[in-house]
Assembly symmetry: C2
Homo-oligomer: 177 residues x 2
Amino acid sequence: MQWNKLDQEPCSLSRTLSVIGDRWTLLILRDCFRKVRRFDDFQERLGIGRPVLADRLQKLVDNSVLLKAAYQDRPMRYEYRLTQKGLDLYPVIMSMNCWGDRYMPGKKGPPHLYRHVTCGHTFEPVQICSECGEELDPRGVHVEAGPGARDGAPMPVVDPPLKTARQKPKQRLKRRT
Amino acid sequence: MQWNKLDQEPCSLSRTLSVIGDRWTLLILRDCFRKVRRFDDFQERLGIGRPVLADRLQKLVDNSVLLKAAYQDRPMRYEYRLTQKGLDLYPVIMSMNCWGDRYMPGKKGPPHLYRHVTCGHTFEPVQICSECGEELDPRGVHVEAGPGARDGAPMPVVDPPLKTARQKPKQRLKRRT
DNA sequence: GGTATGAGTTCTAAAATAGTACTTGGCCTT
DNA sequence: AAGGCCAAGTACTATTTTAGAACTCATACC
């Protein structure tokens, strides 16, 4: 499978990755959330190559994650701003950040702290169930086929039979740990 | 900047991306959460090239996101399982999934539904503040330098002065159901 | 006129990926 | 014992993507 077919998969993760799943896009978006808006500011802060940056910004605009807004005429100049669609990527960025804080904090601790202005505390993001409010645990979630399961589907959808699950072990499992 | 220097940045998002930020890794992890464990199963379900798959699995093991566990001897064979560190990536995957469900659902709706076994409902993940429990909004979060801000830092840290003028804050938006 | 600015585009070399074929250890069948 | 099969990789080539520097373009400023 090639990268450019990813958005056709019947899987929302694949489709999301087709928009933000390349090497640089999430770093660009992180800077967007920190109010970076202009080409040269992105370029300088990220150390990204200019051609790649141009390409990524264009793709984000094509996908309505960013929009290009003029901030002056005369030399006509544009800046890039998050749309609502882009703002809705905040949980993605925050959950990645949180994981990095937990598992790769460096010697002295996490590089950033996040303060919730409303309540005044530094916090971590926590992911909960929209229905009952309980914190989500992967073991407590069951994946089911949704209405769009076969929209155009070249891919197995939900937990198809794997050899792993079916085969009776030829040899006894050897535990080592 | 090259990709392989990303883990040195004083930013948890960069560091996280140095582990899971390439083309395939998140798709591999998605399948891990669906109980895929063996090389050929990953390869077949993802359509990924075998050399790339081997490389990614190895890197995930090196980073302790997966571990390799023998499931038989005799022909010695191993499978790949999520560690706790890997399981803790669940919010990342779920928040991406949720965004894809919202913005790229296809004609008939989202490809998958997620049922919370504990409460019995299909749900969306919601991200809240660990301190006050309120849903997070990017505009209500302030980023500050943390204790590890300058651990080895070649990069500007928090909101350095930009030429772009600040915007006056606008109205808060309400969460859509 | 000469230089500076911001936002790109062009170009080449290096790196990563796609896709196929081959290898390896051990079992199973004939 | 020979040949085939299986799972898990490696080796190798062709294509695509990225890194990095240099160049363009429109206007402003001195």
